[in-house]
Each structure stands twice: as C-alpha cells, then as structure tokens.
C-alpha cells in the first residue's frame, strides 16, 4: 500500500505530543538551554505519553501496542520540533528499551524492562560515541573480550546523556570484530563516569564522558546473551531516529524564520517580497519535506518487515547535512537578530550540527 496520510491513531498521537510540546517545551526551551537543565516534571509528562514504552508488553509495564517505527518517527519529529535536547532526554530510555525488546533474552527483558518501564521516568542511557577523530559507529575503538565466562570492556565513550543519573548504561563495544551491546551497571568498579561535557549545542542535555577499563560484565549482560545482538539492525533504528529528530529541528527553524520574515520589512518593503529571501524559504521548505519523506521511507521499510539498511543510512546522512543547511538559513533570515540568543534560530543552528556528528540519540 502506498499512502502518505496518517491513520487516525497516528494523527491522534501526533496531536497529543504536539500539544505537550506547545504547552511545556516551546516557550521554555531557551531557558532550559541557558540554564543547562530540563525540568523533571516536563520530562515526566512526556514520559507518561508513553513514547518509549508503548510497544513494551503490558506484563513489563508497557502499553502492549504494536511497534510502529513510523508512529515513533512522528513522535520524535514532534518532540524535536519543540526542542532537540528535550526530545532526546524524554525518549532516552527507549535507546535501551527498544533493543532490549527486539533483541534481549527473556531473562534480560524480565530483569530490566519493569525497571525501565515504570510509571516514573527513570533514565537509562546508551554509550556509543567516542571522542576520536574519524569516529565511526561501525568501527568502535571500545573493545570487549571474553575472559573466564565474563566480558572485559575497555574504552572511552563520550556524549553519554545522563550517565550520572541513569540506572543503567548500554555500552557498544567490538567483540572479536563484531559490534555488540552490553548492559553496564552503574556500580561496576570498572566504570568511571567522567566530567560533565560542554558542547556546541544541546546545552540542556547533560552529557558525560565515561571510561571503562577492563570493566567486567557478567555473560548474561551481553544483549541477546550468548549469541549476541544484531547491532546493524540496532543502528538502522537509531539512524532513522536521528533522521526523525533532525526533521523536527529543521522544521522548527524553517517555520520560525518564515514567520519572522513575513513580518519584517527593509528598504520599505516586506523582505519576503525579495526573491533571495523567498527562494531560501522555498528551499528550506522542500528540504524539510525531503527529510521527513526520507525518514518515513526508511521507517516504512522496517514497518513492512524489510531491511532498511540503505534507507536508514541515507536518511541519517541526508538529514544530517540538510539540518545544518536549514538551520543556517534560519539564522541568516533573521540577520543580526538571528545571531542573538533572543531568538530560537540561534539554538537551532547550534543543535543543527549535531545530527550528522552524533550517533544513537534517538531510535524508532
């Protein structure tokens, strides 16, 4: 079937998220960014909508709904349209929940899901990025090796959101040349939570460096147990997630800048009467459309039970470049005002660079 129209259910979910964003995110995003903090009650409200847990079985505390990558993409876009940091933090547990549901052993699911799917938001996080030049999510420097029935992990990770408060960290490491995911408990003596990072953007999102040195993990904490997990599949989903939040962010910049431009005059004429301004807006518009369609296209593949390797890769690649392009235009359209932190396009510009650089901050 080919259709670009949302189902009633999708529309309802999207609208609900949009309402939340409008009520508690949009107008507070600047303050969150300046104060480098997201109020817990906002996160809790988003959590209660169930974005991270809807597809988890009811026995584990989820809603038992069908897993729909497209619906999740709609939710992520909407959240990121409000604020990228908020979107990431609100859905952060899904970075653990989603692979756990898809690829965890039943023991792992029974052990972790009830904790993660509680009524109260409880941070769980993913450690995948590494602060090395040429970092590649498929060529990890962090290594795991099997020794005496457990795994020893060694490596440095950066950009681990909420590492300090998260109840557990899913760590990506290469095991015999194959990338795998491991649950690392916060009390593991081989794990060291490093300094809190300061970044170009996403200021409201606390991120940390962590280091693992011969960090010993019991065999049962390798995601998927003995046979491990399908890391490539995990990447597909997280790449689509990144594409979805990139779309939301770009849309926010596009819409704000367009509305601003409409009301702005210069040389005695509305600036939108100038082709250079109008064409920029047209281009931003169809790039946002393109980004969303690329995201949907990849998510649709997954939803149809097909492989989405190509589509997910291209969606992240494309949205990564275009988010930067669109958010740059957003600042440009506001001119000097766009350069100040009084207007959100400034924040969008900083956050805009993140989509291509960072891996695994959202998943469908």
């Amino acid at each position: 079937m080919f259709s670009l129209e949302m189902s009633k259910e999708q529309k309802m979910i999207k609208d609900e998220v949009a309402k939340l964003v409008k009520n508690i995110v949009t107008d507070n995003a600047n303050e969150m960014d300046e104060k480098r903090e997201i109020p817990a009650d906002g996160i809790q409200k988003a959590w209660e909508l169930g974005a991270s847990v809807s597809m988890v079985a009811e026995e584990f505390g989820g809603f038992g709904m069908e897993d729909s990558p497209i619906t999740t993409a709609l939710v992520l876009e909407e959240l990121a349209y409000g604020d990228l940091a908020f979107a990431i933090q609100a859905t952060l547990p899904s970075l653990v929940i989603s692979p756990l549901v898809a690829m965890g052993t039943s023991e792992q699911q029974s052990k972790y899901l009830p904790l993660l799917c509680a009524e109260k938001y409880s941070a769980a996080t993913l450690a995948i990025n590494e602060a090395t030049f040429g970092f590649d999510a498929v060529a990890l420097d962090t290594r795991a090796e099997k020794k005496n029935g457990s795994y020893l992990i060694t490596g440095e990770k950066c950009f681990v959101p909420l590492a300090e408060t998260a109840s557990c960290i899913l760590v990506a490491a290469a095991l015999e040349g194959k990338n795998q995911l491991f649950f690392v408990g916060k009390d593991n003596p081989g794990l060291k939570i490093g300094e809190k990072e300061r970044n170009l953007g996403l200021n409201a999102l606390e991120t940390y460096k962590i280091s693992l040195e011969n960090c010993e993990i019991p065999a049962e904490d390798r995601l998927g147990g003995e046979q491990g997990c399908d890391y490539a599949k995990f990447l597909q989903k997280s790449r689509i997630g990144m594409a979805a939040i990139g779309t939301g962010l770009a849309k926010a910049s596009y819409e704000f800048a367009m509305e601003y431009a409409k009301g702005r005059a210069q040389f005695g004429e509305p600036i939108v009467h100038k082709q250079s301004v109008a064409f920029m807006i047209a281009q931003m518009a169809y790039e946002v459309e393109s980004m969303r369609l690329m995201t949907w296209n990849a998510a649709s593949k997954l939803e149809a039970g097909k492989d989405a390797k190509r589509e997910a890769y291209l969606a992240k690649f494309y949205t990564g470049e275009k988010t930067m392009y669109v958010t740059d235009c957003g600042v440009q359209l506001l001119g000097g005002h766009g350069y100040t932190r009084e207007y959100p396009v400034e924040r969008y510009y900083r956050n805009g660079r993140g989509i291509s650089i960072i891996e695994g901050m959202a998943t469908v």
Partner: protein
C-alpha cells in the same frame, strides 16, 4: 496509514517499463542522439500502447477536480511518474517522442469535448505555447484567434514545440480577447496541413536530440470553430487557471524525467565503481569513506529525496488533494539536482564521462532540459514561495 511500499500492480508496471526502457530505448539511445531530426521508427511499437490519449488522461484524474476521494485507492498519477522515471532511465528524448503521447494529447484528453476526443484521440498532438518574447511566461501569449464566420483566424509564432515535425495536429494557445488579458487565452487544435500553418524550422539542441523541437508560424491560419478546446466563454476566474492546471499535473512528470535520467547516470557510475572493487554497503561513517563513495551516497540520497517528493505530489493528486505546491517543489528540486548529479557522474567517470563511447555524457546533456522547460527552476521556486508565503504574483515577482 503512512506506508511507502508500492502496491503490487504499480510495481509490475514499473518492471514492465524498465524492461521496455532496457530493451527498446537503450539500444537506440546513441543512434538518435547522432541522427538529430530523424524519426525513431523503432518507437512505432509504442503507438497507442504507452501514454496514449486515453491512458494519459489518468495523469489528470477527474477526482482532482471533484475534490472528494474515491473509496478505492487510485494510483494513476503514481503509476504515471513511475512509468516516466523508468522510461527516462532508458532515454528522455525517445520518451518524449513516443507517437501519440504528446502534451497536446494530454490537453485534448483533459479538456476536449467527446467529439474532439473522438476525432483527435488517436492522432499525435503536439502543444504550442511558448512565444519568442515570452519564455517561461505562459501568460503573455501574443498569438491571437479571431472568430470570422465559422472559423477562427489565428496569427502568431510559436517556438519550442515538441514533436513539431512528427505530430499530426498541434494544440495552439492563442488569445481570443487580448483586452481581458490572460483570461482570453484558449487552445485550438490545428491540423498540420492547414493553410497558413507552417513549420518554420527545427532546433539543434544540446540534448534530447531524439525529440524534434520546432517553430511554427501561423499566418491567417483558419481552423473550424469547433476546434477550440473546451469552451469559448471567457471567465476571468477559471479559464487561465484551467489551462495552468495542466501544469500542476505535468510538473511532477518533468521531475520524474530528471529523476530517471540522473538515476541512469548514477547507476552507471555505481557499476564502474563496483567493477573497481568499491563496495557500497551503507554502513561506514561518511567521514571514513573514499571520496567516490561519499559522492555516491550523497547523490543516492538526493535521488531518493527527489523521488519521494515526486511521489508525494503524485499521491496527493491521486487522493484528490490539490498539489500545486508539492508539484513545484519536486520540479524545483529535481531539475536542479538531477542536472548536478549527471554532471558529477561525468566528473567521477573521468575520461569515460567525456567520451561518447558511453551514455553518461549524453545524460548530462539530456537532463538539463528538465530544469528549463515547463517552467525553469527559478519559476518553480517562485511558485513554491508564493504559496508558502501567501503572496500574489505581484507581491513576489
């Protein structure tokens, strides 16, 4: 529910068109690039088969006008753009000269009376809009048609008429009342042998040389009263809008042309890359690729983006939703990016991209027309922006 999986029937059409493109178009692609102005007889097999009068009308389903949805999903526009992508993957110039599938045929099918459809449905009908001083400005038609007894007397000059030499009849745009401006623009079916109707010359072009493009001069050219397409009544609101509506539906097809040609160039480049041992596995960070791979992925992503924008415009038309914005969006993007892709492919191919031993250089010439005809990329951006900003054509010129 959102789903981008192609329905089985559409998928089958796609494969069939791809086979036609491979088996019929590709083998004669270079031949008719060389033999400019020679009619590709091999295309006779297509007469009445693809995009003929009746089939072409699917591209403009009536429910677009009605604004209400049929229960059963309608994929006619989607099928059309997919057909065009595949055929243009074969050869854009040849696709444009499929006998009986001219733009004029589409116009007759869209607004002709039953009698007109009956009379001209099987004829190959070209469309004559552009005039020497107008370019993309289809509203500034200077050609006039004056009713004299039971005949329209048409005077004017028309340039860039596709299938000018090969067609049987030409749908000519002319103004029946210049005092009311563009509201007076109507279209007329003019048969080739009509006295006063002369094919002045054929263009020598950069690309799409298999398709003949010509200039017509109309000098006191008389056509029967009933050859006016649609109604002679002048309505300021509808008339020109109705004429322009045709373009809302042709823009995605032009975008699909750009898509088909540029995809051909990219696939050829990919073959050569793979022969050289570069495997494209959609995995490594773009920072860890070779320059060729990264360029390839960039283009591959753009190809997908173009296609999805085109499909979106087509799906909206199929669903009876007005798609003028999306139609211009996809053409704005595809014309420009499609052209850039073919240029980049030639660059990546090195000397193989400059030699006529391969088709890459031809694709670079062919595709450029898609950023020009049926409204340049600049015009498309204007249309998009006007709609987004709710500005009139006076406010945003």
């Amino acid at each position: 529910m959102i789903s981008l999986e192609l329905p089985e029937a559409v998928e089958q059409t796609k494969q069939m068109m791809h086979s036609l493109a491979t088996d019929v178009f590709r083998p004669i692609s270079r031949k008719y690039d060389d033999k400019e102005h020679v009619y590709p007889e091999e295309l006779e097999v297509f007469r009445g088969l693809v995009g003929g009068g009746k089939q072409k009308s699917k591209a403009m389903p009536e429910n677009v006008e009605k604004g209400k949805k049929d229960k059963k999903p309608n994929y006619s526009n989607l099928t059309t753009v997919i057909t065009i992508e595949e055929l243009c993957w074969g050869d854009l110039g040849l696709m444009m000269t499929i006998p009986g599938a001219g733009l004029g045929n589409a116009a007759i099918a869209a607004v002709g009376t039953p009698e007109q459809k009956e009379k001209y449905g099987e004829k190959w009908a070209a469309m004559a809009i552009t005039e020497p001083e107008a370019g993309s400005d289809s509203a500034s038609v200077q050609t006039t048609a004056v009713l004299d007894g039971d005949e329209w007397v048409i005077n004017g000059e028309k340039i860039f008429v596709t299938c000018a030499d090969r067609c049987d009849v030409v749908v000519v745009w002319a103004n029946i009342d210049p005092s009311v401006g563009k509201a007076g623009i109507k279209s007329f079916v003019v048969e080739k042998d009509t006295p006063g109707f002369k094919l002045e010359y054929l263009e020598h072009k950069l690309g799409i040389r298999a398709s003949d493009t010509g200039t017509f001069v109309l000098k006191d050219c008389r056509v029967p009263r009933e050859n006016l397409l649609g109604t002679a009544e002048i309505s300021k609101k509808k008339s020109f809008g109705g004429v322009m509506q045709t373009f809302d539906n042709t823009r995605p097809t032009v975008a699909a042309m750009a898509l088909g040609v540029s995809r051909a160039a990219l696939e050829f480049t990919k073959e050569k890359m793979e022969e050289k041992g570069l495997t494209l596995d959609y995995e490594k960070s773009p920072n860890n690729l070779s320059a060729m791979e990264k360029d390839f992925y960039k283009m591959d992503a753009e190809i997908d983006a173009m296609r999805l924008l085109i499909w979106q415009a087509a799906a909206m038309a199929d669903a009876g939703i007005r798609n003028s914005l999306q139609a211009s969006m996809c053409k704005a993007k595809a014309g420009k990016i499609g052209t850039e892709i073919t240029q980049k492919c030639c660059e990546l191919l090195g000397p193989m991209g400059f030699s006529q031993e391969y088709l890459a250089e031809k694709w670079m010439r062919d595709v450029k027309i898609t950023d020009i005809f049926e409204g340049t990329g600049q015009i498309q951006h204007l249309i998009v922006a006007r709609q987004l900003l709710k500005l009139s054509s006076k406010e945003l010129r």
